[in-house]
Amino acid sequence: MQHRSKLTRWKERGSLRFPFFLLMKGVDLIRTERSRRTLAFYLMVSPWVVVFAFFGLYPLFYGLYLSFTNFIGFNIDRLRLVGLQNYKNVFSDTDAIYSLGRTIYIAIVYVPIGTAVGLLLALLLNRSIRGMGIYRTIFYLPSIVPLVSVGLMFRFLYADKDGIINTILKFFHLPALNWLGYDYATLSLVIMLVWGAGGGILINLAGLKGISRDYYEASSIDGASSFQKFFRITLPLMTPVIFFNLIMGFIGALQMYIQPILLTGTRLLDPPIRPNYFYAVHAFQQVFAFQRFAYGMALLWIMFVVILLLTILIFTTSRYWVHYETDQEG
């Protein structure tokens, strides 16, 4: 309970400054380079570690514990341990297995496309012409506008009877499609997601701006074309950012929840159409619609393991293609 008294002391002093800036000074006193670096590392990551230890660990373990109980929202004072029952149920839950398959499918389809489109849009915006700030802002709008409005707009586009896309198709005497029906709903969702990939431009732009102009100037002298410059300079130096976007993209895609719901309905508990019934949707339905808290948590912990394994997999490949100035992985 040491943290508790510490907190109260902070409150009393009215100051929440970490004492660690002072400690930073002390680091210089240690002589060996190695231990000096190690100490510096741990001091610098200590804000995260300390907060995680006091704010993160307990809820995590408590959350894990709940997934082994019969918790359904109101019985926290009389929980019973049910062992691995919730986890066993996941594997006999046909919806869970089906939705996990759909989730991995859409992640594999969407994440690479989304990452590429985000980078292309950023390249388009990485110029100094008049009014670029406005273009950048407009391109970023998809990630500012509430998802509810985005969902509404896409339902306008996709509507069966008087949807904009179908009206255009009919104008060219092409057959109208039921975009939100079983056969095309996933395609429609991918289109909507790719449309929203503009949210990645901020990080991509920051990455592009970090590439020293010297490199481009040097290769101009060597007579390199724009394409060559892109593949020899921009792309390799952007790999850390692309790597970041891929990892975060996968984490996000596997947790995707709200987009498929808003494409079909308007209320958060409306289940999306079957092909877009993803794993996180299933888990949240269990928790929010049916208050199966324990079971929902078991579902999410399994998802956690899947995402972790996938992330480690991508990380181990990174040494072959991601450009770092220092040793990061392998």
Binding site: A40, M44, P59, S149, G210, F293, L300, T326, D327
Partner: protein, 276 residues
Amino acid sequence: MTSLRYNRTNRFILYSALLLCSVMFVLPLFLTLSNSLSPWFDTPDFLPRAFEIENYRFAVTMIDFWKFAKNSVFLCLITVTTTTLSSGLVGYAFSRIDAPGKKVLFMIVLSTMMLPGIVTQIPTYILFHKYGLLNTFYPWLIWGLGGSSFFIFLYRQFFSVIPKELEEAARIDGCSIFRTYWNIFLPLSLPVVATVSIMTFQGAWGDFISPFMFLNEAKYPLATALSTIGYVYERSVIIQQVAAAASILFMLPVIATFFLGQRFLIEGVVTSGIKG
């Protein structure tokens, strides 16, 4: 990109691409705007059938709009300043300093993003209850000081492309590790700092779940107020048009922040660093 010389065709292609994308991306905003100007209980459409500017007056008077906005500003102020600086420090350590246990620790940082918040929501509430932190802004301050996994990862990636030579030069000059970070790496990474600030602001401004869980109505930020209290006529009949007007007002600060913040996305700082 002054090195690219634009001829007419290039220019035409560039502007057409920009314009086409702009139209696509501005649509939902336009739709929301149209909806916000429509008469109550109208079915949404691309062009409003009327021009009900009154909806905006209702948006700020039907609920205590400015009080909630004030709370939002305060929450954002706490979060943006702490998260941006703290994440940078941690990200720098993960990127540039070698130490035993680093990889495992980094995986732990990443793994905290792999579990949706719902798993820890109720336990966190219980924890805050024990600490007496419910209905205070302290959690945001402490979360901010700890930094966010997402931005730690982001900083790490950006710091890792800054040339080694720079670090070595600093060391020869006798800079401590911390000074190298504060005086050299951070100023060089202005675009990243701007990116993180904008995104943190956007995240804090838009988050409605945590404030809903841990605060009472008097301390709700706008996001939570709009999503829980909302604009209800009677018997849970939501006035979509006023809600749309409110969401336009709600978006404006984020759009403005982005517009102002993206100016910080400038090149040249790193270049001058190497030359100097």
